[in-house]
């Protein structure tokens, strides 16, 4: 069985074209949000805060801010990408095409992750206008950027297949992703938390993502870098396993 490269490319292009049609919202949104965060957290509140681990508060929140957008964008893009064909009925074509489930996933998740990485880079560039940004381990940073985008795009893909309505599609990011990100040390070091919340936080997978990403910037994080990488990879593999099961069983796709 040969790889259907044309098919993957078709889906990837289709999804990227969808993003380009809404280029304005895609780019202006994250840039504006980031600027607001810097004005509120960096400027107004941050100026009254001590530095965290020797890093000024404004700089400290840069990795967390990027992660926040990365997670939201990945889940949002990948979930709508696969939910919309289900909603409009055009999914019949995907199901009847000579394309494997993994090829479909590469197309959809690849496009969603690409968009997230681009947005991450834009936020990073925007941040540099407000605070000094130094990246100690650029390769690790890129690796985390890509891994997180892919992992959460996979998660979004699952969400899009699961969802039966637009409400459900918005419900999970609102109730799960946003709280986990905010409580995952995006804007603080979990060392700042009193017990038992510090221990509770260690059950939040986003803590490991933010921590690892922060390590690539400043050379230190809340948890060990190897552990961060391990948890990110484990999450990615878990999502892949769920997707493999979905396509094997036809859950919510085929009757």
């Amino acid at each position: 069985m040969t790889l259907n490269l044309h098919g993957i490319w078709a889906i990837y292009r289709f999804e990227m074209a969808r993003s380009l049609r809404t280029l304005w919202q895609s780019l202006v949104g994250p840039v504006l949000t980031t600027s607001l965060y810097f004005i509120v957290f960096g400027g107004a509140i941050g100026s009254r805060m001590q530095s965290v681990d020797g890093v000024s508060y404004g700089s400290f929140i840069v990795p967390g801010l990027i992660m926040l957008s990365l997670l939201t964008q990945s889940v949002g893009n990948a979930s709508i990408g696969i939910y919309f064909p289900k909603f409009t009925g055009t999914i019949f074509e995907l199901l009847s095409a000579p394309i494997s489930s993994m090829e479909l996933v590469i197309g959809y998740v690849g496009a969603a992750a690409t968009k997230s990485v681009v947005i991450g880079a834009i936020i990073l560039a925007t941040s540099a206008f407000f605070v000094p940004v130094v990246v100690e381990h650029p390769l690790a940073m890129i690796a985390f950027l890509v891994l997180t985008s892919v992992a959460f795009s996979l998660f979004g893909f699952i969400l899009g297949i699961w969802a039966n309505s637009f409400e459900q599609l918005n419900f999970v990011p609102l109730l799960l992703i946003t709280p986990l990100t905010f409580l995952g040390g995006s804007f603080y070091s979990i060392d700042m938390l009193p017990q038992p919340w510090r221990t509770v936080s260690l059950f939040n997978p986003v803590v490991y993502l933010v921590s690892g990403f922060r390590w690539s910037f400043f050379g230190r994080g809340d948890v060990d870098i190897a552990l961060s990488l391990g948890v990110t990879l484990a999450f990615l593999l878990a999502c892949l396993a769920v997707i493999a099961w979905i396509f094997k069983s036809g859950w919510r796709l085929k009757s």
């Binding site: 044309h6 409009t88 009925g89």
Partner: protein, 309 residues
């Protein structure tokens, strides 16, 4: 008519709720023929097509397309198939050319092709190629769906209820296209619940009802079976039996003796009606009204089921 391009053996489908949509269907479709799947709404036509195309998983049975197993070797099998669904499911925000190119690529072919232009021209869509699909009329959207299904040059084309809600112009164009495709050797399988449509289009007809394929026959043979019509004569005076001397018409008395019924074959040169009417007036059997009716598709199915039982 040579070797079959599509074979189904023992294909059945029972949905999770316990409803059985298909009961062990066996079918062989010849290369290059136009096959009409005829049946009322809910007969299992769309389920059958969906199973062949990979949208619905069969509960039992095997399917081979061009010799390829539709599950084990689904890529090879599916690249031979194009499907025009019943619903107008298209990407509203895409342009015509973009969506047709997408379909071609999705089925594993390179996007750049003079073939796409040809398909769009054949379907009078070339001038609309840069229009967004949402700007098109319903008939045009259906043309787009046909173009998408043809984009990868399939050998087998499925048309699910192709004329449902379609205007006369499109209907005519569609038949022209179907014949042109057949000239090129494309096998066409269409579903319909209109006998006339099957008659107009197909080489062979399969009749399906309640998930069972009742019979598969050449169109001519089937049309003769299905061409039965009824002549009902409403009598002035009720009768308790058919008058003597009218045996050759095999009449029956219905409606408590108020109606005399004659079943005839409309495809015959001599329907027997003029002679019957002459004979009736000679015997002073008076009637106040007369009505002919085609047996409905439902009646035909009942007949077919009884015939088989």
């Amino acid at each position: 008519m040579t070797e079959p391009i599509l074979t189904l053996s023992g294909v059945s489908k029972t949905y999770k709720g316990g409803f059985t949509a298909l009961h062990g269907v066996d079918l062989a479709i010849n290369k290059g023929e136009i096959f009409a799947l005829l049946g009322p709404n809910g007969a299992g036509k769309t389920t059958l097509i969906s199973i062949i195309c990979g949208i619905v998983t069969p509960s039992t049975g095997t399917i081979h397309v061009g010799g390829h197993d539709a599950i084990a070797d689904y890529k090879a099998a599916r690249s031979l198939i194009g499907l025009v669904p019943q619903e107008l499911s298209v990407d509203m925000f895409e342009t015509v050319l973009a969506t047709v190119t997408f379909s071609r690529r999705l089925f594993g072919r390179s996007g750049h092709s003079a073939y796409i232009e040809q398909v769009l021209r054949d379907l009078s869509l070339w001038d609309k190629r840069d229009n967004k699909i949402m700007e098109l009329s319903g008939g045009m959207k259906r043309r787009v769906l046909i173009a998408k299904a043809l984009a990868h040059e399939p050998e087998v084309l499925f048309l699910d209820e192709p004329t449902a809600g379609v205007d006369v112009a499109l209907r005519r164009d569609m038949w022209k296209l179907v014949h042109a495709l057949r000239e090129r050797g494309t096998t066409i399988i269409l579903t319909t619940h209109y006998i006339e449509e099957a008659e107009e289009m197909a080489d062979r007809v399969g009749v399906i009802n309640k998930g069972r394929l009742l019979l598969v026959d050449d169109k001519a043979a089937l049309m003769q079976k299905l061409g039965k019509r009824e002549l009902d004569l409403t009598l002035v005076d009720t009768l308790d039996r058919v008058p003597a001397g009218l045996e050759q018409w095999q009449l029956s008395l219905v409606n408590e003796g108020r109606t005399l019924r004659y079943v005839f074959d409309a495809t015959q040169e001599d329907t027997g009606i003029p002679s019957l009417l002459r004979e009736l007036s000679a015997r002073h059997v008076a009637f106040k009204d007369l009505e002919t009716s085609k047996s409905s598709l439902e009646d035909i199915f009942v007949d077919l089921v009884e015939e088989r039982a």
